[in-house]
Symmetry: C2
Subunit: 143 residues, 2 copies
DNA sequence: ACCTTAATGCGACCTATTGGCAACAGGGAA
DNA sequence: TTCCCTGTTGCCAATAGGTCGCATTAAGGT
């Protein structure tokens, strides 16, 4: 998995896609976000900062395309905007359903569960797409 | 955990809430759904079947209140409507991100993970609120 | 019966996202 | 290099799902 701008564009091209300015911009935005986590509206804003004329729906379509390619993963954490993150940065999301905070946990946490699901249900777990819900330390202590 | 209509209404009352016709109707709808899984719009429809004059926003507020009480859990499976289900019926949801199917797996699957998260991160996992994403048997085989 | 406060109706609003369609532009073929 | 095919984009209207404020109503303890 190559997660440089060019590596991603190559994959896109090999899949029959075209490399355009707006796609560069979207991928750039994702790569340069410190957390590598952005909601779709975040990406729209980031892209427009550099190119005010790029259209919203283009960004959505590009995100959809990249998710299809497996470059980014879309996760739905709460009602509201979906969050996108680069697939290479595998880790888990610990979502607090009380205060809304999102912490990260190292990858591998769900390995045993994944193995069992595949064996017993034929289900192939995608840990990066599976946010874990519950209460963070602060909320569980006080509540 | 008492999951009869009256048990739930009792809990609501003890929490300072009031028992009203629309709340009865919402809880009734949830209890009588064969799968015990309904999207918010589903609940709105079900409630309105019996009481056409109940307002949409009332249903949403009631669902929110019940979730707060812990009677039902709200899970976000995909972009689109949130799904609600009775908390007592603990089990896991295996969501296929390709075809959208939702299978169920028995409770307990995440016990070890839950223990570890609590120990190492102070995070209290809510398994019922954590849908597991990936590819179902059919899609992983063909894809 | 009374009073406090929760719950409701209503309707406007909002945000996230999708769809159709004509115009445009990558990038392999000629 | 030019041409052409087809993937992409811009535009903008349309949804869907859900939230908010506010005046009114009603639950339920006293």
């Amino acid at each position: 998995m190559d997660d440089t701008l060019d590596g991603i564009l190559d994959r896109l091209r090999r899949d029959g896609g075209r490399v355009t300015a707006s796609r560069r911009a979207v991928i750039d935005a994702m790569l340069s976000s410190p957390s590598h986590h952005m909601t779709a509206p975040d990406v729209v804003d980031a892209v427009r900062a550099g190119h005010p004329d790029f259209h919203e729906s283009t960004v959505y379509r590009t995100l959809e395309r990249l998710a299809e390619l497996g470059v980014i993963a879309r996760i739905q954490i709460a009602p509201g905007p979906a969050v996108f993150h680069l697939s290479v940065a595998q880790h888990h999301h610990l979502v607090c359903d009380r205060c809304g905070s999102v912490a990260e946990a190292p990858a591998g946490l769900l390995d045993a569960v994944a193995a069992r699901l595949r064996r017993e249900h034929g289900f192939v777990l995608d840990p990066g797409a599976t946010p874990l819900h519950g209460l963070c330390a602060a909320c569980s202590g006080s509540g």
